[in-house]
Amino acid sequence: MLIIKCPWCGDRDETEFSYGGEADIKRPVAPEALSDEEWGDYLFMRKNTKGVFKEQWNHSAGCRRWFIVERDTVNYDIKATYKF
């Protein structure tokens, strides 16, 4: 079970957080200009990174802020956490 450092609250147990998937999925500025395939990529396609992965976490049972976690998916080492 991870210990995650909330950028606002500090080190906390994983049970206080909820997971929000891959970070840096930018919502397209003009969705209607995209092809079905491009929109599908934004909507469904996520990386399955082996190694350091940037992901979103929410301190849902704490300050309720979203923030970024860089986590190694092989050994679960958290390299860094920071604010949006």
């Binding site: 991870l2 210990i3 929000g20 969705p31 079905d36 949006f84």
Partner: protein, 1000 residues
């Protein structure tokens, strides 16, 4: 009469006699015994039947690796299955029984499996019981009966369990010599230390050793050390505590057992406690497991691990045989011979697979005149219900094969030792790797992944002095690394046996096909034998993980404790590969079985999930309304008068709303306040309709979509001021919508000036619905609600009885209705005022059931009932709510190929043709007369009720191209098989023109 109890010795209390029952037989033993030592003391040879072949089995070990003595212990509500007799502390009145064996342990009808064992090889179950599929139920019935697992109690657990979170600097697992040394070092450093051990006493192997530390018998050193540790303010000693799981970031779980050794005396104590420990670092001093040797019939009752024989003699004063053979490939078993000699046994023979040597062990046994046969192996065991004798052959140390000239020798106990394997379980669970040691012939920990270190025999140091040195060194390094200064030097003086030499013998082999010999077991608990490994390889399985699954090697509670290394070595032999290339299987928690009770702790029954009650709850309870659990909320379902059925109550409530006046507690609706200068901009992106068109004071029905275009939630939004909105969500969606909005705001549009505040609990909502609702408010002198001044879908701030209220003229029933928001502190008071004022109109409280019927009569959907995450606004008939002028979440998805198919399921109304039958919700819609399978499915019924105002049943359904099918007839087929003829109609059943809003 404890036939096998020695006259003296052992750590038992001979003046405290305990009575217990095994398989109905009344027996006696002493306080300090385990169930296993008590059974052995009473000369109980057979304790169970094996898993697959139902062979008779006896006690094999003295610890958590026990594969055979897995018993049902306790009675009534406290009975527990799958306990290892070696780990159960005996108490007075204990009742135990074998789990397998029918009709009796000594005559098991399924022994036929053993006689037919050639048919029951590896993968037998996979191959035989697959076809035909419809026979599976029959197979399963017999298989379960024959496998004969234990049973669960059929009453509730009378005990309770607790959880405890703890933090420390160093957690030491195991209080054998290495663990104790580690704790002594850590104790002096001032670090915050926890040391856990599964036994009731510290000491591990020192509990039955005659080695000396600091000139006293080791056990005395242990007792002194334990006393010192228990006194130390920075050390917590947990006994009867098993560290069973090692997770990420040095999080370990430990189960401490408080009352298992005397369950009936439980007073104000949990039965077990789950320690959830976060620690800076871990010392793993779990020790090592002795390995069996592999030869024919090596599972007969009376074959035991050599170290277990020593432990039974010295800890429990139990001598399980008189005429004893010891079969070994290493020195450690010589200690067993010495212990037997000291216990007064004269008939002892050692069969040693190694050539003659002059180690300390052989010199000692020579002095004691113990017979040793070198270069010899035991090839077979005689006797089936108990060991009666053994066959011995000479081993050719060049070829590793034995010759076929057999010597027969009588014996009643065969002690075996195949060397030792470090208990790498927790190290492996923590993500650490293991490496095969060519010198020690075992896997030892290598490459830790978390901050931990294995010490002592867990780390491959077998001799006592080496163990202590290793523990001291590594613990000191760990503490220094943590920043602790080690001032005092701990020195110790050891007088050890150092019986550690070993030479591998993975199986007794004469070069012939193992099928030609009686079974040679590798894993007793799973009945895996040498021929199974051969067969698995023959059938193409080469990876250890596959062979494990095909042969069940190391499955169950064994988890690789006993047979794994022999199994891997034999696989290596068959594949002609080095053992190092075979690798280990995965070690998973739990190290030993853990009760469900301690996992659940106190989060059971009423503490399983929080209960939420509205501010008006007391009224509902006084009306003895049955409650419906919606999320965590208790909502009144309906309000029966005396003895009224739900049908009659709902009918009465519905007609009251339609004809006069109803009142409902809608406080559980999600309520979100949104302010900020970008509030409008933000909501434009979230909702599908044109929010900017809304005037101040106006309400609008709104839906929000997921980015996939499917309906996520709905509710009413109100523009309270220029930059101030108020939204309601569904009861179930309140929390998720709030966090979803926050996610968009924080992660995608942090630049927007928007503040979201949940008001769900701060405000309560009371709905007044029915043609007389305005009259009641007027009677209470409420201003601003006249027909002329307050239009449908508007909001006004007002007062009732001098209490501030927000009144919304919205309607979920189709009647004239007002939703009144009030500070929750005044909600019950306001409710009572409205009830009193409404009496002349026979005001009728109604619950969720009536609310559902009223909305269905109007064709309003419930998100999550009529939608299921695959329904978009067009499907639900809400296409008119989609703005063409702006983008919103999910809009682009509505243009995807799949979204614009014209055969999507669409919301329709359904009427049963007979006008009487209420169609069961969930019923499938098929064509009348469709018989050819597979029968095409057109849709399903999502909501269905009897409509009191219409006098017939109504239903809502999602049907393929449904809006083009009004008037068509179908069959609705319920799960019970009932078929109802139905007709597709418009889903608005009542007052389609919406006239009823407009009463005075």
């Amino acid at each position: 009469m404890q036939k096998n109890r020695l006259k003296s010795g052992g750590h038992i209390q001979r003046d405290d006699i305990l009575n217990f029952t095994f398989n109905g037989k009344k027996l006696q033993a002493y306080k300090g015994d385990t169930l296993a030592s008590a059974l052995l003391a009473n000369d109980i040879k057979i304790v169970g039947r094996s898993f697959k072949y139902h062979r008779p089995r006896g006690i094999f070990s003295c610890g958590p690796e026990e594969p055979n003595a897995i018993l049902q212990v306790g009675s009534g509500s406290r009975t527990e299955a799958g306990l290892k007799a070696t780990q159960v502390e005996l108490y007075d009145g204990l009742i135990a029984s074998s789990e397998k064996g029918w009709p009796s342990l000594h005559f098991d009808v399924a022994i036929i499996n053993d006689w037919l064992s050639k048919m029951f090889g590896a993968g037998f179950y996979y191959k035989t019981f697959m076809y035909p599929a419809k026979f599976w139920k029959l197979y399963e019935y017999f298989l379960r009966k024959m496998a004969g697992f234990g049973y669960a109690p059929d009453e509730n657990d009378p005990d309770y369990y607790s959880h405890h979170n703890e933090h420390c600097d160093l957690l030491i697992v195991g209080a054998g010599p290495a663990g104790i040394m580690s704790a002594l070092v850590a104790s002096q450093s001032g670090a915050n230390v926890i040391i856990v051990d599964e036994k009731e006493k510290f000491g591990g192997k020192l509990l039955y050793s005659d080695e000396k530390i600091d000139n006293t018998v080791a056990i005395e050193w242990v007792e002194r050390a334990q006393a010192e540790l228990e006194k130390a303010p920075n050390v917590k000693c947990l006994k009867r505590s098993t560290a069973f799981g090692y997770y990420d970031y040095n999080f370990l779980t430990v189960c401490e057992r408080y009352t298992d050794h005397s369950p009936e005396t439980t007073v104000n104590s949990p039965r077990q406690k789950l320690w959830r420990i976060r620690t800076q670092s871990v010392v793993l001093a779990q020790g090592a497991f002795e390995r069996p040797l592999v030869f024919s019939n090596n599972d007969r009752p009376g074959v035991m691990l050599a170290s277990a024989v020593s432990e039974y003699i010295k800890r429990f004063a139990v001598l399980p045989g008189r005429n004893i053979a010891i079969f070994t490939n290493n020195d450690s078993a010589y200690q067993t011979a010495i212990d037997l000699k000291n216990a007064g046994v004269d008939s002892i023979i050692i069969i040693d697979s190694r050539p003659e040597n002059s180690s300390a062990a052989t010199i000692k046994t020579n002095e004691l005149n113990i017979e040793v046969k070198f270069c010899s192996v035991v090839t077979n065991v005689q006797g089936s219900n108990k060991v009666e004798g053994i066959e011995i052959a000479k081993l050719n140390s060049e070829t590793g094969l034995h010759d076929n000239e057999l010597i027969y020798r009588d014996c009643d106990l065969l002690a075996i030792s195949g060397g030792w394997s470090p208990a790498v379980h927790l190290h492996s669970q923590s993500g650490g790797r293991n490496a095969w040691s060519e010198k020690l012939h075992c896997f030892i920990p290598k490459n830790t992944h978390q901050k931990n270190t294995s010490v002592g025999s867990s780390n491959g140091f077998w001799g006592l002095k080496d163990c202590l040195e290793d523990a001291k060194k590594r613990t000191s390094e760990m503490l220094t690394d943590l920043g602790y200064e080690l001032s005092e030097k701990i020195s110790f003086d050891v007088e050890e046996n150092n019986y550690v030499s070993m030479s591998p013998l993975w199986r007794v082999n004469d070069g012939k096909d193992p099928e030609s010999h009686p079974k040679q077991f590798i894993d007793y608990q799973n009945d895996t034998s040498v021929s199974d490994i051969f067969q698995a390889v023959r059938e193409g399985y080469k990876n250890i993980e596959h062979v494990k699954r095909y042969t069940a090697l190391g499955f169950g509670t064994d988890q690789g404790k006993l047979g794994n290394i022999n199994g891997m070595a034999i696989l290596a032999e068959v594949l002609n590969k080095p053992i190092a290339d075979i690798g280990t299987t995965t070690f998973r928690p739990a190290y030993t079985p853990v009760s469900f009770g301690v996992c659940a702790g106190q989060e059971i029954g009423e503490f399983f999930d929080p209960i939420r009650k509205t501010a008006i709850h007391d009224f509902h309870e006084n009306q003895t309304s049955p409650f419906e659990l919606v999320g965590q909320w208790l909502r009144p379902w309906y309000f029966p008068t005396q003895n009224e059925t739900i049908e009659n109550a709902v009918k009465r409530e519905c007609l009251a709303v339609r004809n006069s006046l109803g009142i409902m507690d809608a406080s559980t609706l999600g309520k979100i306040d949104i302010q900020g200068k970008d509030a409008l901009n933000f909501l434009e992106r979230i909702y599908t309709h044109d929010v900017s068109k809304m005037a101040i004071g106006q309400c609008a029905y709104g839906i929000m979509l997921g980015e996939d275009g499917m309906i996520k939630d709905d509710g009413v939004m109100t523009r309270m001021a220029e930059n101030h909105f108020y939204l309601t969500t569904t009861t179930g969606g309140a929390a998720s919508v709030m966090s979803w909005l926050e996610q968009w705001h924080q992660t995608e549009w942090p630049d927007l000036d928007v503040y979201l505040t949940s008001l769900t609990e701060q405000l309560s909502t009371i709905v007044l619905a029915g043609p007389n609702s305005r009259k009641v408010l007027k009677k209470l002198m409420v201003t601003g609600i006249d027909k002329e001044s307050m239009k449908f879908m508007t909001f006004v701030k007002s007062k009732i009885d001098d209490i501030d209220v927000d009144i919304f003229r919205v309607s979920f029933s189709g009647e004239l209705a007002f939703e009144i928001n009030v500070d929750s502190n005044y909600a019950l008071h306001l409710w009572n005022i409205l009830i009193e004022a409404g009496k002349e109109y026979e005001i009728t409280p109604y619950g969720t059931e009536t609310m559902h019927v009223l909305r269905a009569e109007k064709g309003f959907i419930i998100v999550g009932q009529d939608t299921d995450g695959s329904i978009n606004p067009e499907d639900a008939g809400l296409g008119w709510m989609l703005s063409r002028k702006k983008d919103f979440i999910g809009k682009r998805s509505l243009l995807r190929e799949d979204s614009i198919r014209n055969d999507r399921k669409q919301l329709v109304g359904l009427l049963s043709l007979d006008g009487k039958t209420v169609i069961p919700e969930g019923a499938q819609i098929i064509r009348k007369g469709a018989h050819k399978k597979p029968i095409p499915m057109y849709g399903h019924v999502s909501s269905s009720y009897y409509s009191p105002v219409l006098g017939h049943p109504i239903a809502m359904a999602m049907i393929e191209s449904g809006r083009d099918r009004h008037g068509e007839e179908f069959l609705a087929v319920a799960s019970c098989g009932t078929e109802i003829e139905v007709k597709v109609v418009n889903p608005v059943f009542y007052d389609p023109s919406g006239e009823r809003q407009n009463v005075e």
